[in-house]
């Protein structure tokens, strides 16, 4: 009896404590009027105005979309590229929880956070692009299960994967809120979320490519192949890891005080190791590209202007970064690996824009070019994502979380002891 009576006020106190804590945490920290904040804030304000116009007057008011080009920058960049570069989440959980490569454990949280935010913001961008966004839940609630649609598959797998990423990240939030018991429960769900998450991610990454299977005759033959789902999947592996490398580089500078010592210590090894995986997948991707080219007997197109553009993509932004990654790994040169990562990211951006926009109906009389307003909104979305990322990283145990795998700690301690 006593126990139950006592528990209720305690629960109330607890809720109050949490509420106050969260309010406290919502306040900005550090200097507010930094150049970055001012610029990104302005971007977001302008975007809000533009989006108000978009929702009042329709997509045509601020975009250059047309009957011939129903998908533009918001799909080609915000969704297609955004999801590809958020691929680091599932690849790294695979490396850490399935392959037990403990060395990568220190960056797991920041990577999963990045992936989760990547998905949330991709979904947000999609909402802006949908003509009738109020119906977005229809394929979930069954107001039409379009089971023969690749997009139906992508929608479900995307949605469920984002949930899995949230579960994977949730222990960090629980730690931040000081909810130990809940943290333990959530932590117990991680492995299942990882296994499901990898499967779901694999399918929707491939599915995004699959969206173009019926665009046969619209997509330039050099980019159209029945293997496009495989290409999208493989490229998401190195795209995701490249973003992890670049993000690691930036975080080290920007969030220096938040960095845990394990993370700082292993930074170089982790970057090089990821570089090696990138090199491997990039070579595989290059090989696949060449095989589809030969298989489809499409080499005649290479001698055209679009062919030159295609070669620029697969040589300049696939083969070259692949070599750089390998080189950087071999000579243990972190700078080279980071440069390669930037190039690989540019390559994926180029590929997604090519498929969704540039090589889509290349012969159209009036080709789509995004309006400045579409570009502005895209930049604002990136800015907003960075804001949220920064807010979380500055508050939750992401870069310095305590539960570093004991084995790493042990290994590091041991080498540390040896050095001392």
């Amino acid at each position: 009896m006593d126990a139950t009576v006592g528990r209720i006020p305690r629960a109330g106190n607890e809720a109050r404590r949490l509420g106050q804590f969260i309010l406290q945490e919502l306040k900005p920290r550090g200097k507010v009027l930094t150049p970055f904040n001012v610029i990104s804030g302005a971007l977001i304000v302008v975007a809000a105005v533009l989006l108000a116009i978009r929702f009042l007057k329709g997509l045509g008011a601020i975009t250059n979309l047309s009957q011939d080009f129903p998908w533009g920058l918001w799909i080609g960049y915000d969704v297609m590229t955004g999801v590809a570069i958020a691929g680091g989440g599932y690849v790294l959980t695979f490396m850490v929880y399935v392959l037990h490569l403990e060395r990568y454990h220190p960056i797991i949280r920041v990577t999963v956070l990045n992936a989760f935010l990547g998905y949330v913001f991709a979904a947000g961008s999609l909402l802006l692009d949908l003509g009738r966004p109020w119906n977005i839940m229809n394929p979930m609630i069954g107001n039409g299960f379009g089971v023969s649609s690749v997009l139906f598959l992508v929608a479900w797998h995307f949605f469920l994967y984002a949930l899995m990423a949230l579960v994977e990240f949730s222990p960090a939030a629980a730690e931040w809120l000081g909810l130990e018991r809940i943290r333990r429960v959530l932590k117990g769900m991680t492995f299942a979320a990882v296994v499901l998450g990898i499967t779901l991610a694999l399918l929707h990454q491939a599915g995004l490519g699959g969206l173009f299977l019926m665009a046969k005759g619209k997509l330039h033959p050099l980019w159209y192949t029945e293997f496009i789902p495989v290409l999208f999947f493989v490229s998401s592996v190195f795209a995701g890891l490249s973003l992890v490398i670049v993000e690691g580089f930036i975080s080290r500078k920007v969030f220096a005080p938040r960095l845990g010592w394990t993370l700082r210590r292993t930074h170089e090894d982790v970057t090089l190791g990821l570089g090696r995986v990138c090199a491997g997948t990039l070579f595989a991707y290059f090989f696949l590209m060449v095989v589809t080219l030969l298989h489809g007997q499409k080499w005649a197109y290479l001698a055209t202007p679009m062919g030159a553009w295609f070669l620029l993509e697969i040589v300049g932004f696939v083969a070259v970064p692949a070599v750089l990654f390998a080189q950087g790994y071999r000579t243990r040169n972190v700078k080279t690996v980071q440069a390669a990562a930037l190039m690989a990211l540019a390559g994926v951006l180029l590929n997604r824009l090519n498929v969704a926009i540039i090589a889509y109906k290349p012969l159209a009389a009036v080709h789509y070019v995004p309006s400045w307003m579409e570009v502005e909104v895209t930049l604002a979305i990136i800015a907003a994502e960075i804001w949220v990322f920064r807010w979380v990283v500055n508050r939750m145990p992401v870069l310095d979380f305590a539960e570093v795998a004991p084995k790493v700690e042990l290994a590091v301690r041991r080498t540390g002891a040896a050095a001392a």
Partner: protein
Amino acid sequence: MIDRRELLKTLCVAGGAAVVGKNLSAEQPAAGPAREAMGVLVDTTKCIGCRMCEFSCADAHKDAGLEFPEDVDFTAERATSEKQWTVVNRYETDRGQVYAKKQCLHCLQPACASACLTRAMHKTPAGPVAWTANKCMGCRFCMVSCPFDMPKFEYDSAVPRIQKCVLCWERLEEGKQPACVESCPSGALSFGPRAERLEEARRRIYAEPDKYVHHVYGEHEAGGTSWLYLASVPFEQIGLPTDVGDEPYPALTREFLYSVPFVEILVPTFLLALSAATKREKDREAAEANAEGEV
């Protein structure tokens, strides 16, 4: 009773789809035997370019916001739009001027419907491919997928619709003909069961072999369409795409969709096995390292 059975069936399909991922068939179910699929035959040799079909279409679908442009001089080729579901163009061909009407072809296995993730775009058993407002989320995937670029989108509306010819499905249910067919004064358009229209097209070719190209456009194109075309000149000369192939478009995604349930079962199994294997490996290494450390 029937309703309940239908509901159950839908629920089972939906449930199965949600659990396994997708169903196993990329194509839309073929039109049921209960109702014969209808079609329209366009004989471009008979078309006089009066644009009555355009007029009656705009008139019949005023509610959808369609308009009839008065000042058309046929100098530029026009495409259908969100305000015009059908247009008549004039083409300079090897055999003089030919007029040809264009609209959604109402494919037998429509790319647009198989692309639609909400079934807003759907093939009705009677033949028309129709669109349902309260289902559509405006993703425009139907537009990307249609080989004939027929679905159009209202970019200038806050509540945009997908616009395309719906083959007057409501009129068909009332037992009437499509508005355009009814208004055609020259006999260029004729409506009836598709199979019968196809027979009629063949009959005309046999009867006047010099007049027609020996091909019925739409018999096989993109897996077959409800609209069929006859012409005196090769079809690319009257603006019909001849590179769409005979394969139904939904078949292009079939292999990918088929592979999904397999991936969903095999990948997690593989991941579990792999995880167990590497864990054992790691533990052994750790044990060895410890043993060495002790030595």
